[in-house]
Structures are given as C-alpha cells and as structure tokens.
C-alpha cells in the first residue's frame, strides 16, 4: 500500500512513448479539428489527402443543381462515399454541416441521397448554430419529403449537445411548436421542445394547445413529458394531474448516429495522448443495463468542490491571494502549468489524471503520499471490477483493453509502475488465459517494481512460466520482450537511484545494492531457464533466438552501462544453439554479446586491480571461468577449427575423434569455421563468386592466407559488425589469455 520505489528511466534513454512538449497544447482557442490533426503527425499525409477529397466533395454539394440521379452519376457517387467514409472515421468539420444540411433539405437530390447525407452528419467537434437555423427555414418551406423531415428532427435531437450556441435556436421555439400539428412529427418535436423549453416559453396558449392535442390523440407519453415540464416551470398554469412515474417519455430517438459519434470520439482520444477539449465532459453515456458503478469510466478532471466554510475563511486571511487555487478545468497548456504550479490543486477524483498529461507532469513533481493513495484505491478497484476474466460477462472487453492501455501509457509517462496495477497483475496472472488483452497485460508486466524474489516467484514467474511453456511461439517471444523491458526498467531505476544517493529516504530493504543485485540475478536466471526450455520445445527457431539474445544484449552490458556489479553468462542451452545456429543474424548477435561481456569483464578486472581496498562486490571467478569456456568453444569453432578437441564446457561440443569419424563427415574439424559454418556458407559462396567469377566448383579451401583476410573484410562489409568486434577483440588475445591462465 505504501508507495513503492519503482524504476525510472534516465533521460538519455529514448522512449517512444514520451512525446514532445509541443504536443501539450490542448486545443484551446485553436480550431479543435485542426489541432487534432497536428497531433497525428505520422498520419498527416494521409489526412491531408482525405482533407482534399472532403473539400472537393463539399464544394461539389455546394454547387450541385437539380435532381442528379445517383445511379447514373459517378461523380455524385464518389463524393457521397467520400463524405460517408470520412464521417464514419473521424466525423465532419463544423464548416461541412451548412453545405450538407442545405443540400439534403432543399430537395434537389433524391431521398436516397438525402438520407445517406443526413446519416453521415457526424460531428468531429461542434455543429455551428447557423447551419441548424438555416435548415429549420428549409423545413418551413417543406421542399423535402416528410421522411427526410423526420430524419432531420431525430438527428437534431441526437446531436443537440454538439450545437455550439443555442440562443438563435431558442428564438425559433414558436416555429418548432407549430410543427406539433403534424401527427408524424409530433413525438420528435415534443422531444426537441423538451430540450429547448425555458420557463419563459411556458405560455397559457401553448398549454391549451397541448391539452387539445392530448384530447385529440389520447394520453401520449411525449405530450405528457412536455406537459410535466411545463408544470414544473409553472405549476400554477398547469392544473391537471399527470401520472407520476413514467420510465421513458421518448422512444429511442438516438437513431443511427449515437454509436458512430461515440466511436469517432473514442478514436480521437486514442490518437492523441492529450485529451480533447471537453465540451461534453469525458464521461461516456451510461448504459442502462448495467448496475450502478459497474461501468468503466475514467472521471473527468474537475476542481475539488469540497470547499467549505473553513477553507473560505482561510482564503480571507490570505492577503496575497496565493491560496486561491487554479481550477484544473482551465489548465490547457504546459506554460499554464508552469505559471500556476504553486497553486494548482489536484482534481476531485485522482483517476482523471490518467488521461491528462499536464496533471501527470504535475504529479511527477509532487511528493505527496495521499495523491498516490487516492489513485491506488481507485485504480485497484476499477481493475478488479472490470477485469474480463474475473467477471463472467465478457462484453466490456474492448473497454477494459482500452483502460489497460491508458494505464500503461500513464506508467510510461511517469516512468514508474502503479502499485495497484502490480497487485492486480499478481492476482490476475494465475487466472489469465494468456490471450485476453495479451499485449496490454504483458506491457504492464514490464512496469512491475522490484520486490523480493519469493514474491516475484510465486506471483509472477510461476504463473508466467506455466503460460509460457504451453503457449505459441509468438507468445513466448512477447513474454521475453516484456521481461527485457522489465529488466531495463529496473536497471534504469537503479541508475537514477545512484545519481540521487543523497536522497536517503528512498532506501528500503528492497533497494539496497545487494538486494537489487539478487533480484536482478534471479530475473536473469529465470529468463535463462525458460529460454533453454523454449529453444528445445520449439526446435531452435531463429525468431525465438533473436528475442533471447536481445535480452542478453542488455545483460552483457549491465556493469558498464548501468553500473551494476553483476554479469551473468547465458546458459549453455542458449549459448550453443546460438553458436550453431543456421542463421547469420543469431551468430552475429552472439558475437556482439560475447564482445560486450569481454569489455565488461575486462573493465571490472581493471577496477578491481586499481582499487587497493576490497570491493564490496566483485564478480565470482565462476563468471570468468564460464566466459573463458565459451570463448574457447567459440574461437575453436569459428577460427581455429578445433572446437571438438578444445571445448571444455561440460555441456559443450567436445567429441571423440573416433566418434566423429563414424559420422563420415569429411573435414569435420573445419565444419564450423567462418567459411563452413552453416550460417556463413552463403557468404562464402558469394565471396567465391566475386573473387573467382570463372570458377564454378565452389572450392572453399581457396579461402586461406591473404584471401582469408579479404573474406573477413567482405564479411564486415556485409554488415556483420558483431563478428567484426568479436574477432578484433578476442581472437588474438585468446592465446595470451590461456597462456597467462596456465
């Protein structure tokens, strides 16, 4: 429950999730539509071309004359599809509504086209009031069919909250009221009036009209709704008694738009880390079917309104007004954050910081236990309540996935794991099928903070290993990837911690150097173990080997890059499959790793010798011994063609000459050197072709002496940089090393 120390990454390490400061602008006075596009730099070109085709379509509809038949006119078809697809994908810009409403309600085109146009009126941000007003005037001249009129009204009801101003719309109250006499339109007009009505609209003549209608049409729920609203405003004018409880006044009038509007909004939020201008608040529509509080909603940032008398008095005492806090709703830009950082208050619900990068920045600067605790409780409860493999009802899968994604992004932003998330993983991993929200769960694993081995083993390693061994190759690679990230996060945390050693309050049992070394060593051992087993289960695929060696690329450099006095060699079950791999990528990677091990070990040895006093940590002689065994095997294989004689590793390649003869392989001694190695032979063939273009016998034995050096240069030029650094550092010295050792 305590806020636990978790890794932070040093600034020099590039993180793809960290976005630049220029992105912190939250729309503000800029046209929201345009600012959204600015955030999507990778998609910019695609968007530009879409923008163009939309503009073309709009100008087409602006100028279109008379009744153009859809079937015969390809141009109309094309523009109509453009409008539809853009509307579905990201909604239409404010300026599009005027044009499209005008054409749809003017009756110029067929009803099929008008319907399709109206159905695609999905707002990307807001709908200008002027376009709505002008469409009402079209309605009054009844140029369009009654079906289109109805569709328009339903649309207006659905998007009512998206209209930017409503004053002039209110002025049309009487017009709308007059539409009540149309029997078909009546229910929708009632609904619209219900949304528009203010106290001053309630007039005796209107009440009479409504009562007349009721007498004519019978008790209709939509009329009752309007009447009860009138009664609420002017109880003295409406004297009839209305039935008290009516569950739904209006039939579902959300039409075909509501779902699309929500999708468009969600997609927009995904596209930018910065949350959108919140003209509707971020709360998603409540579904009626679910019980209270079981819907996943990240609260919107709003100021804590829990300011009572006591607080107000405090403010009066404060002459300089510095206590007056800056409302979070107004926080839009990074510079505002900087200017107001001294009197900013966290929102009333901490959960809202997750979608607000500015507040995440602020959170990073504040060392206050209570903000973490508030977030901890909220997130812990939400994760458990929503976890789709806890709760039988699986319908909220997408929501849950998005939520995990949001949590992960916030963790990357803060460079720190949430402890509620850690606990959630510990509780849920044993029940996880390894499939549901896979990439989200595995990425969250990479932010698990350091803790004791026994805890890690029972809560993380054991359930993960079970899934690992029984799942696909792809899953195995994803697990290895996330464990590599986990290791890097720990190491980064360690390096930050070293820099701020004076900050002694951060020390706890878990974070002493020996504790850290042990926990890191255990993680590496675990990965070594599962890698060995996985290579055998999957029969050494290059793909898997790549992820394993990638992990060891971090391991081999821990001493120099992260200042951690620990080096662990890969197990033989990883080393030999890589050495004998059929693929030059793996072999090259192994060479690079062995070169880095060497560099690290040499540096450690020098450090040990230079400092007279006994160091707290030094590498065990076993590490050096293991390294030497591997290097002898490697040089024996690749260079001196003596692997089968000289390999001294107990699980190595050492084999009896007699046994090798029985294989009837000729020249077995050379079969793993850089010419004959199955991973290298392709290069050797190409080299021969270039060096002796006329010779078609592929006489590999020609590569020796001076040609051997040319061949090496050729290999280096082919991009085998790992091989290069390995050979340059290790080959000539290995004889010296073995001399000095002896």
């Amino acid at each position: 429950m305590q806020r636990r120390q978790t890794p932070k990454q040093p600034l020099q390490v590039h993180r793809k999730k960290q976005t630049d400061l220029s992105a912190w602008r939250k729309g503000g006075r800029i046209d929201p539509e345009k600012s959204v596009q600015n955030h999507q730099s990778p998609n910019n070109q695609k968007n530009d071309s879409k923008q163009d085709s939309l503009e073309q379509a709009l100008s087409y509809f602006e100028k279109v004359q008379d009744r153009v038949s859809l079937k015969k006119n390809n141009v109309l078809q094309k523009h109509l599809t453009t409008v539809e697809s853009i509307a579905l994908q990201r909604g239409l810009p404010p300026e599009g509504f005027d044009v499209l409403l005008n054409v749809a309600l003017s009756g110029k085109l067929s009803d099929t086209v008008n319907t399709r146009l109206l159905k695609s009126l999905i707002p990307a941000s807001v709908i200008p009031e002027t376009s709505v007003v002008s469409s009402v005037s079209w309605l009054c001249v009844s140029k369009c069919s009654s079906n289109i009129q109805l569709l328009f009204l339903r649309w207006l009801i659905t998007v009512f909250d998206f209209i930017d101003h409503k004053e002039r719309l209110h002025a049309l109250y009487g017009f709308f009221f007059s539409f009540l006499q149309d029997e078909k339109m009546c229910p929708y007009v009632c609904h619209l009036l219900y949304l528009l009505t203010r106290k001053e609209n309630v007039k005796p003549f209107r009440i009479r009209r409504l009562l007349d209608l009721q007498a004519k049409m019978g008790m209709q729920s939509h009329l009752q709704a309007l009447l009860s609203l009138y009664k609420l405003f002017c109880p003295e004018l409406v004297t009839i008694t209305l039935p008290g409880k009516t569950k739904t006044y209006f039939k579902d009038s959300e039409g075909p738009w509501k779902a699309t509007i929500n999708t468009v909004r969600q997609r927009k939020q995904e596209n930018s880390l910065v949350s959108q201008p919140l003209f509707l608040g971020t709360a998603q529509p409540q579904s009626r079917k679910r019980k209270w509080n079981t819907q996943l909603i990240i609260p919107a940032s709003s100021t804590n309104k829990n300011n009572l008398e006591e607080d107000r008095e405090k403010q009066r005492v404060d002459f300089y007004g510095t206590n007056e806090s800056f409302p979070v709703e107004q926080l839009q830009t990074f510079s505002q954050l900087l200017q107001n950082i001294h009197h900013l208050e966290f929102p009333s619900q901490m959960g809202s910081v997750l979608t607000n990068p500015l507040l995440l920045h602020y959170m990073n600067c504040i060392k206050d236990e209570s903000i973490y605790l508030r977030l901890y409780y909220w997130m812990g409860q939400t994760l458990q309540e929503e976890c789709t493999w806890y709760v039988a009802d699986n319908k909220q899968y997408e929501e849950f996935k998005d939520f995990l994604e949001t949590v992960y992004k916030a963790e990357c932003f803060l460079q720190e794991g949430f402890s509620s998330c850690e606990e959630f993983l510990y509780k849920s991993l044993p029940l996880w099928d390894g499939f549901c929200c896979r990439s989200q769960i595995l990425r969250l694993v990479s932010w698990i903070p350091l803790s004791s081995f026994s805890e890690m083993k029972s809560h993380l390693y054991d359930p993960l290993a079970q899934l690992f061994f029984t799942s696909s190759l792809y899953f195995k690679c994803s697990v290895l990837e996330s464990l590599k990230e986990l290791l890097q996060n720990w190491l980064n945390w360690h390096i930050i911690h070293l820099d701020s050693e004076s900050d002694s309050q951060a020390h706890s049992l878990n974070t002493t150097l020996s504790g850290l070394v042990n926990v890191v060593a255990e993680l590496i051992d675990f990965v070594g173990w599962i890698s060995t087993v996985a290579l055998r289960l999957e029969n050494n695929p290059t793909f898997l080997l790549y992820f394993i060696l990638d992990f060891y690329e971090t391991v081999c450099d821990m001493y120099l890059r992260y200042n951690l006095p620990l080096l662990i060699m890969p197990p033989a079950g990883v080393f030999y499959p890589a050495l004998l791999s059929m693929d030059s990528v793996s072999l090259n990677q192994l060479c690079y790793i062995m070169y880095r091990y060497r560099t690290n070990l040499v540096a450690a040895k020098e450090n040990e010798l230079s400092k007279k006093k006994i160091l707290q940590f030094k590498f065990s002689s076993q590490t050096y011994q293991e390294y030497n065994q591997y290097i002898i095997a490697m040089v024996g294989c690749l260079w001196t063609s003596s692997a089968f004689q000289k390999d001294i590793h107990p699980q190595g390649l050492c084999m009896d000459d007699e046994l090798l003869k029985k294989t009837t392989v000729q020249e077995f001694k050379t079969s793993f050197n850089i010419v004959y190695h199955p991973a290298m032979m392709g290069y050797a063939v190409l080299f021969l072709q270039q060096a002796w273009p006329d010779d078609t016998t592929f006489n590999f034995s020609l590569i020796k002496g001076k040609k051997w050096n040319w061949y090496l240069e050729y290999l280096y030029a082919q991009g085998l940089k790992g091989l290069k650094v390995f050979i340059e550092s290790s080959i000539n010295r290995v004889s010296q090393a073995s001399h000095s050792k002896a």
Binding site: L308, R374, E423
Partner: protein
Amino acid sequence: VAPGLMSAMESVDGAVRTLPSIGRLSRGLLFGGVHGRVGLSPSSRLLPPAPPSQENVDSQKTTFLLRKQWTLYSVTPLYRFSDTHLKDYARLLSAFIAAEKQKGLAVEIGVELGIKVAISSLPDLRGSDRDQAAILVQLSSRSPASPKNSEEKVIWSGWFCSVSGDDFSENVPEDFTCLPLFLANGAESYTSIVGSWFQKTFDCCFRRLAISPLNLSWMAAMWTGCKVDKTASAMELVFSVPHLPQPLDISYAIHPEDAKALWDTVQKTPGEITQEEVDVFMDCLYSHFHRHFKIRLSATKLVKVSTAIASAHCDGIIKFLQSQYLTGVLMLLTELAISQIQ
C-alpha cells in the same frame, strides 16, 4: 423447488459420529494465516466479546437498522472527509440530487424539490474508540398529495461503518477516513446518486460486496453459536444446484437448538473459531442431509444463510435481526469489505 425441508436434526449423536473425519478435512494449511496482499481468508477469527446487557438501552438508537434488507458495498477510504461538516455535506448532496433528478433541465435555485437529505453520525456503531463513528445518510420525501405539514417519509437510507477495522485504518494517512463498509436500503437509483456524489466529493470508490460460499459457511457457524433469549426461528441454509437448465434451490432447515448442540461438539476453544471447525460443522450437516436424501450438498453452492441473528445472501444482501449482535455481524462484514479494497 425444495425437495427437503427438515424441521430438526433427528439426533445430535448421529451427527457427532461423523467427527473422526476432522484430521482429513483440515484446511488450515491452505490458508496460511498471513493476511497477504493477495487477500487470503484468515484461518481463524476471534468472536466479538459477548455483548453486555446494559447496551440494550443504547441499542434503541440502532433498532431501525433491524429487519431491513441492506445491500452491501465496500468503500475505499474517504479523502478529506470530516464529520464536523455533516450539515454542509447534506446541503451539497441535496443540491446534487436535485440536479441529477432534473438532468437536462434547468434547476431553479431555492425551489423545494421534495427530497430532504439528512446526514448524521451513529456513534454507537463501532467496535472500539479507534473506529470512526458510523455515518448515516437518509433521504426523505414529503408526500406530494399534501406538501405542507405532512410527515416526512424516509425513502432511502444508507450508512457507512467500520467495526474493528482499526488494523486497516491505522495504516492510512490522516487525510483519509476509513469507513470501509456501506449498506444501502432503498431504490438503486438513489444509491447510485448518493454513491456518485461521495465518489466525486471524497475520491472514493464503491463496489458491490458479494459474500462467497466460504464466508457464508463462516456466518452459519458463527451465528449458530450465539445465544438468543427468545425461542428462535429455524436456521435455514439455501443451496443452489449448478449447471441445470432450470434453477433448483434446496432449502435445509435445522432446529436452532440442534444446530447449537452440534456446534458445541465441534468448537474447541471458546471465543475463537477456526476454518477447520467451520468445515467440520458444515460437513456434519452435509453428511446428515446425504443420509436422508442422498444428495451431496458439498457439490452445490451455498447461497443463503438465515439464523435468528441475521440472514445473508451471497449477492451481498444482509438483514440484521438481533440488535445485541449487530456489531458482531458488522465486524465480520467490515473485515470482508477491507479485504475487497486492500
């Protein structure tokens, strides 16, 4: 469908004969006693001390909590809650309710909306002085027929409490108030409004608190052992049979004295109950039922327990029946609520 409603155990001896199975049934090791971060149930619980008889006078103040169905919720600690501001909270909550009820309509300030909010403290409802006093929220309405001078009618009530939850609250910073258990009676729409207000105002989180069959069997055992003065009603256990096309419930009623006699043979240390004892007790009841009806209740799911003390349903619904055991029951519920939020 209730294939067997038994009025009484035929003899206590019959049940006692099944006792030799204690050794094999022991589940002590499975529940390691450590209340770890993954929230295992404790292997033993202390019973609340027997209520002193004087307290019955005070319990007048809590009798209105009895014989009502309460829906259980767990609540994470309330941030910046202070019980000196209850009146202000009531005012703010009442404005919030008005706004919610009139969603989408303009609300005129000062207009009576017919729902009155009262928030008060229930200082009697706590385990010790270290517990926060319980907080009661009541919504009442005037009848619309005669708005003036008619009596107010409580339409919804809910209360937060913590009974012996001090182990938890001691580890929480000062800014937080620990009242981990919330009980609501009334329309869920009001629960939703009130709950949302508390969530928004005190940054807390409400979650339904279901009671697992394991905990229901704990309740069955604990409540069986309690003394009740009057002739008590039968103890009833309701089981639901899983994986059937139609729901099938089995109701198992036992005479309270027989149940008590059985329990007394099972319980070893007075004042303390272990998981093992609970298992033995339930197992005796199961084998007795099997002898008569050839139905193995251990293969079904325990969904409801009713005794003279209280009745509890696995969906997280409880009814208190005896005021002197109110705090005892609340203590167990507080523990369950804490384990859900920790």
